[in-house]
């Protein structure tokens, strides 16, 4: 299993930061996922062996964290917050618009594999609601028109 040099540098740097190897697990999984797109069986086996864990132990951790996934999704994951601060400023309408525009349900992926949509809990953008994240990019003070522009930007960008 081959990761990028950047991943390897990060990993080599991170592990000695902790008195136990497994402590590096959660951030390592997220970095691996960012490269591969999801945590495939191969990735899980590789990380388990590097951190002296069983695959089951790694899977157990993966299933706990909402950002860690074991199936592929769209290249751009549109995560719309509908929690309280966003809800009272139209977060649900933003989510519905994304679903309709892309023709998918919650956690669904478009046929071309470009976009997926996910309803998420508070992302720490409450004072700039309604808000969404596309992968790690924050988009705030959203309106339906703004969402259209943003999604078109990713499509053509």
């Amino acid at each position: 299993m081959k990761f990028s040099d950047e991943f390897e540098t990060r990993f080599a740097e991170m592990v000695p930061h902790y008195p136990t190897k497994r402590s590096a697990l959660v951030p390592t999984l997220l970095y691996a996922q960012d490269e591969v797109g999801f945590l495939s069986d191969e990735v899980i086996a590789e990380i388990a062996s590097r951190l002296d864990l069983t695959e089951l132990e790694v899977r157990n951790v993966i299933s706990y964290y909402s950002m860690l996934i074991t199936k592929p999704r769209g290249k751009f994951n549109v995560q719309v917050c509908t929690n309280i601060s966003c809800m009272v400023r139209g977060g649900e309408q933003i989510l519905d618009h994304c679903k309709k525009k892309l023709g998918v349900g919650n956690k669904g992926t478009t046929a071309d594999g470009l976009f997926s949509v996910e309803e998420v809990e508070c992302i720490g953008a409450c004072s700039w609601a309604p808000a969404a994240q596309v992968n790690y990019d924050f988009h705030e003070n959203l309106s339906v028109e703004k969402v259209d522009k943003i999604l078109d930007g990713y499509r053509h960008g």
């Binding site: 959660v26 950002m67 309280i84 349900g105 956690k107």
Partner: protein, 439 residues
């Protein structure tokens, strides 16, 4: 990235360097950066703790525990290494302040962690940042590297002969991990299931060593206290509630944003003056004063000083500083439902009252919101919530129950308006059709 606001009543302490380029270490040094830790290096650990005690600083993560007191619980002698852990998991709905600190002033957090470490005799500090905040993790990692490059962190810091390592750590999406014992589990590479206390983290924490856990805003306040003095900081706030606080104004206000105001600032003024009042000329219906887990206040209850003790007296909690304002177009049943949906999703499932209670409440509220509620459900929701209180391993169960009790008690009429098949009076016509869920 997130836009900044300002208001003449603000007292800028923690936000002093926001928008001033302080992510750059040289700029930070120009703006009095790393002066406090140098000062602390020349102080006895007890003197540092006393200064923080005198400042009246109380935890900004939610519970409002005295920071100096917390530090004093760490044993002086310990066979195992001691640690400082900065809680930057920030996931309580309504809260978006630690994000600004990491974005604009990451070195102040590093400095706060260092001072805490000097006070309790720790040789390493970890700064845990939630996984969604990737750009902030990058900012923090660079800040840490820069601090090492200058000799401020690592071996022989500031040429003092003392060693102090600072590390970054990232999460991967889980509200429960913000709870201090779950945070340690997560940092150790495990599922974020809380630990049974006692022993408390100050005695047995990370990898079994004594550990101080503080919120990012708490730690970012510390360098200012060391430089300005505990007495100065205490005077900014109200008795036993020192200093300032970053209040995250959100919801139906005209000027949402994060404002730094003195502890004890009047909530009504905060809404109507600082945040510009209710947006679109609407009327206020309710305020959630300290993040989604705090009981709501009605318009009659908002003439209250925003400090830990006054808000508690008013029957709620100052919590995490997230002030969510709700106008009269919003449905309380729906708001209660969305709140519960969150807690049900985030419950780790260990305790039955929390796991089953949140699930049952969510189901009842869903049915209610659709018009299928029965009169006895209203009492049942209250009864069930009250029976969750204090019966769980961590406070998440309470966090789900407390707001529900307040919604039911204070807005009973609104629940009654949903009874017996009547559609939600607030739902707009032409509600959207549901597309299938593909898990």
């Amino acid at each position: 990235m997130a836009s900044l606001v300002s208001h003449p009543d603000e007292v800028k302490v923690v936000s002093k360097r926001f928008g001033m380029g302080a992510t750059d270490i040289d700029r930070y040094l120009e703006l009095d950066g790393y002066k406090a830790v140098r000062k602390a290096l020349a102080m006895e650990p007890d003197a540092i703790i006393n200064e923080v005690k005198n400042s009246g600083l109380r935890g900004r993560g939610g519970a409002g525990f005295s920071t100096g007191m917390k530090w004093s619980f760490v044993p002086k002698q310990s066979a195992k290494p001691k640690y400082v852990l900065c809680n930057g998991d920030e996931s309580e709905p309504g809260t978006c302040k630690d994000r600004l600190i990491f974005e604009h002033d990451p070195h102040s957090v590093i400095e706060g962690v260092m001072i805490a470490a000097l006070a309790v005799g720790a040789k390493s500090g970890y700064i845990y940042i939630r996984g969604e905040y990737r750009y902030l993790s990058n900012i923090m990692q660079k800040a840490i590297r820069d601090a090492y490059a200058k000799g401020f962190a690592g071996k022989n810091i500031f040429g003092s002969g003392r060693d102090l390592d600072i590390y970054w750590h990232g999460g991967a999406g889980a509200y429960e991990v913000g709870e201090e014992s779950a945070l340690m589990e997560s940092l150790e590479g495990k599922r974020g299931i809380p630990r049974i206390r006692p022993p408390f983290p100050a005695v047995v924490g990370l990898w079994g060593g004594p550990t101080v856990i503080n919120n990012a805003e708490t730690l970012a306040s510390v360098p200012h206290i060391i430089l300005g003095g505990g007495e100065w900081y205490a005077k900014i706030g109200t008795p036993k509630n020192g200093g300032t606080r970053l209040f995250c104004m959100s919801g139906n206000v005209a000027k949402p944003g994060v404002y730094e105001l003195p502890m004890g600032y009047n909530l009504k003024k905060m809404i109507y003056d600082v945040a510009g009042g209710i947006a679109n000329g609407r009327k206020l219906k309710a305020v959630v004063p300290g993040g989604s887990s705090t009981p709501c206040l009605t318009p009659e209850e908002i003439d209250v000083a925003m400090d830990f003790d006054s808000v508690a007296k008013a029957g709620s909690m100052l919590g995490s500083g997230g002030v969510v304002v709700i106008d009269d177009t919003q449905c309380i049943v729906k708001f209660a439902l969305r709140t519960m949906k969150f807690y049900k999703h985030e419950s780790c499932g260990w305790c039955i009252p929390c796991r089953e209670g949140t699930d049952w409440l969510e189901k009842t509220l869903t049915r209610f919101h659709r018009g299928g509620g029965l009169k006895k459900d209203i009492d049942n929701m209250q009864y069930l919530s009250e029976n969750m209180l204090g019966r769980t391993f961590c406070p998440l169960g309470d966090a789900a129950a407390m707001p529900t009790i307040a919604f039911v008690k204070k807005f009973r009429k609104e629940f009654e308006d949903h009874l017996d098949g009547r559609p939600c009076p607030f739902e707009k016509a032409g509600a959207v059709e549901e597309l299938p869920v593909m898990a």
